[in-house]
Amino acid sequence: MSDKSELRREASPQRAVVGDGRAKRIVAGIGSANTVTVTVLAFVLSVVIGGILMILSDQHLLTEWGYFFQHPTDALGDSWDKVANGYIAMFHGAVFDPHAKQALRPLENTIVDATPLVFAGLAVAVPFRAGLFNIGGQSQLIGGAICATWVGFTLSAPMPLHVLLVIIAGVIGGAAVAGLIGVLKARLGAHEVISSIMLNNIALGVLVWLIKTKAFHDPHRQDAISKPVKDSALLPAIHGSSPEINFSTVLAIAAVVASWWLLSRSSLGFKLRALGSNPDAARTAGISVPRNQVYAMLLAGALMGLVAVTQVSGTLSASHAMTATLDNGIGFTGITVALLGRGKPVGVALAALLFGALDAGGVAMEASTTPTVPHDVVTVVQAVIVVFVAAPKLVQEIFRLRDVRRGDVKSGGGATASVAPATAVDSAAEAV
């Protein structure tokens, strides 16, 4: 795609190998540090590290490791049981449970958990391509949620119209907060990371205050929670019972397609990518830097607003109302999802699915293991996967993989395919 990767390809010493038989090429490909191999191995490594953490946290096992040299079987066997049981419980919770009445029910949970992460990941990936780091997902989510909830419980409208209004309100709320960050950066040069962090906290304060005010607080409840949105504002269910796959999953798929089209086919997307690759060149070419920075943030805010809609009008929160913990870390998880997805819409969707599975599995694991394996191990696994995926060279060194033949991972020289908002993203995806 880019000239740079063409050059790399020509310069690659293994270039001569290409042209052998297809089967040989596939075998050689598996053993080399290409994107798929690196991602799979990153997953394996993170699972191993998660397992080590499980062993370290069990006092009984630690005692057994204490007399490892007398009875090595005790420590090894019990550790294996502990880790295996943990991960089996996760698998049962995330993918398929042969003992349950509805064996594929867990897969539905995974999709339900993955849906908001798709929007959140895109909300980071899109501005990232324009060279902006959106760490303000929390504030945008809260902004969207406040607007969506208000429209949801005050207006009365027939079912499809009301849902549409809620979605529009969520998008506007999220975009307004993100737009403010964009304008502050574009016009006053306020660093978007600082203003985002400050707005995250301000939005949280406003939310906590609002859900106690007369206008928002649910009079039937003692705790701090807003009025629930009306039934006509709920996203229609597609399959299953609570928590169910609902219309938001369709929206998520649409968002992935739209983001892909926007970034790789539209003129706005071209401008955004130009801005991310080289702002000076973009300016010289007549692209307005401040305006497009604001556009990128508006898009991000709109996407985070959709997360808010899935939270409030979807089935994730059982009461269909705002609480102080509405965000639940999704704003930050979006950053890791975007990185794992290498900043590409389809990659983001796949990464969100993996993270959704880990989340759903983690909850199930915490519920079904004794002594309890806390859900937090999932956070560790997620962080470690992302670190390894972002550092293909590290995985390559651990498993002694060969250099890849095509331009996605260049070793030796040291440049790697991360999600740096430059040409690296394009060349990385090319090899997939």
Binding site: F133, G189, L199, G414
Partner: protein, 434 residues
């Protein structure tokens, strides 16, 4: 709705770019602030019927010279302050002032506004409401210490060209190890050392992944924060929560009183009767400042952060210096984490609660300098202390909104006062030889 809290921002936005528009925006903002002081604070019901403001001047919790309460009539004082603010705003609009005068004017406006707010919050026609000034300052010091240490860690790393967004994770992991090791060894100070080492270890991890494996540094920082959150949360739940006494139980820091200085009127007990780490923090700020700007190490650090290729040419080991600085920065942040734990005596899950990000903001806000970071952290600590100390005063402002004061103040400061800042030129850019 969330936007409403920062409503004055668009007015300030109009003033980007041209000096004239910026001047008008600043003048108008100052006049608006003056009107808020006049009608919101000065002529409101809280100051009606000859109410007087009571400022407590003695810190009850610490030994010190007893100073009687400072009582003055609220309305005249606040109206006078409003007049000063409005006059300065008008002057700003009318006259083209040199830079130093502008800065001085803005500082006076901010001081008057803050003081008027405090006078208003401590005013009560019935008597009884009071704001203890040394108590506000004491909370400010306690809140600022982890921010200063975290920011110092950021400064050292970023000056040599490595962005450190993982301050939050370093604080958290440092705090966790302080609690764990400190409890196991029955010694808070061994715990503190463990916390410092844990922070340095996190710094080293950041350095290796950023320098050797070239991961995009901002994103890497976020991921490391997640890692620290996951690991500490997991171990907290599986070890500490079930067995608080053997894993998470420390005797908090005791204060060290500096004889003589601690009896200074009002500020003595606040500045000179604090735990040892407070003095260490101030010492480190001075040390890093001297180091950065008056030593060979500092010159090299700055060279590596601005132009690594040139530094390499003259024989500076770019990567080695970066490794050292990032690990050192991690150690500072680890000390900050140790302070958070040692102050209360135990670790709680995600106890840093975004402080690392505030520290990151202080790095940028303080323009990558130690004293700048100290000032930014002090500003944040002060507004934070003010919000928490006035929350008990039955103000008509909801306490949840008052709690956002430090963030609003920082946002305004960043957008309005600081504007565009310039990071070290090679900040966040990996250096690959050749």
């Amino acid at each position: 709705m969330a936007v409403a809290t920062v409503a004055p921002a668009p007015a300030a936005i109009a003033g980007g770019g041209e000096a004239d528009t910026r001047r008008y925006a600043a003048g108008v903002t100052q006049i608006v602030m003056g009107l808020v002081v006049l009608f919101g604070f000065g002529l409101g019901t809280r100051t009606a019927h000859g109410a007087s403001t009571t400022f407590g001047m003695t810190l009850v919790s610490k030994e010190g010279t007893h100073v009687p309460d400072w009582v003055f009539p609220a309305r005249p004082a606040i109206v006078a302050l409003a007049a000063v603010v409005i006059l300065l705003g008008v002057a700003r609009l009318a006259v083209r002032l040199p830079r130093t005068w502008r800065l001085a004017g803005t500082s006076v406006v901010l001081f008057c506004f803050t003081f008027a707010f405090m006078a208003w919050s401590a005013a009560d026609p019935k008597g009884g409401e009071r704001l203890v000034l040394p108590s506000v300052l004491d909370s400010m010091v306690i809140a600022a210490v982890p921010l200063v240490l975290g920011a110092l860690g950021g400064v050292v790393g970023e000056r040599s060209g490595v962005v450190n967004v993982a301050i939050e994770g370093q604080l958290l992991f440092g705090g966790f190890m302080t609690a764990l090791v400190g409890t196991a060894t029955h010694s808070l100070w061994i715990g503190v050392i463990a916390g410092v080492l844990a922070g340095a270890l996190m710094g080293l991890l950041l350095a290796v992944l950023a320098i050797r494996y070239l991961i995009e540094q901002v994103v890497l920082g976020v991921v490391l924060n997640l890692l620290a959150l996951g690991v500490t949360g997991f171990l907290y739940k599986s070890l500490m929560q079930t067995n608080q006494n053997s894993y998470n139980n420390l005797t908090p820091f005791t204060t060290v009183r500096i004889p003589g200085l601690a009896s200074i009127w009002v500020v003595g007990p606040v500045l000179f009767d604090q735990p040892l780490i407070v003095y260490i923090t101030v010492f480190l700020v001075v040390l890093v400042h001297l180091g950065l700007f008056h030593s060979r190490w500092g010159l090299r650090t700055r060279a590596v952060g601005e132009h690594p290729a040139a530094a390499d040419t003259v024989g500076i080991k770019v990567l080695r210096l970066r490794y050292r600085n990032v690990a050192l920065g991690g150690a500072f942040a680890g000390l900050g984490g140790a302070w958070l734990v040692g102050n209360v005596g135990n670790f709680t899950e995600s106890m840093t609660n975004g402080k690392g990000f505030i520290a990151l903001a202080a790095v940028i806000f303080g323009r990558w300098s130690p004293f700048g970071a100290l000032a930014a952290a002090a500003l944040f600590g002060f507004t934070d202390a003010l919000a928490s100390q006035t929350s008990s005063l039955q103000l008509p402002i909801p306490s949840d909104l008052l709690g956002t004061l430090p963030y609003v103040a920082t946002l305004f400061a960043v957008a309005g006062l600081i504007g565009r800042v310039r990071a070290p030129a090679a900040d966040g850019k990996p250096y690959v030889k050749g």
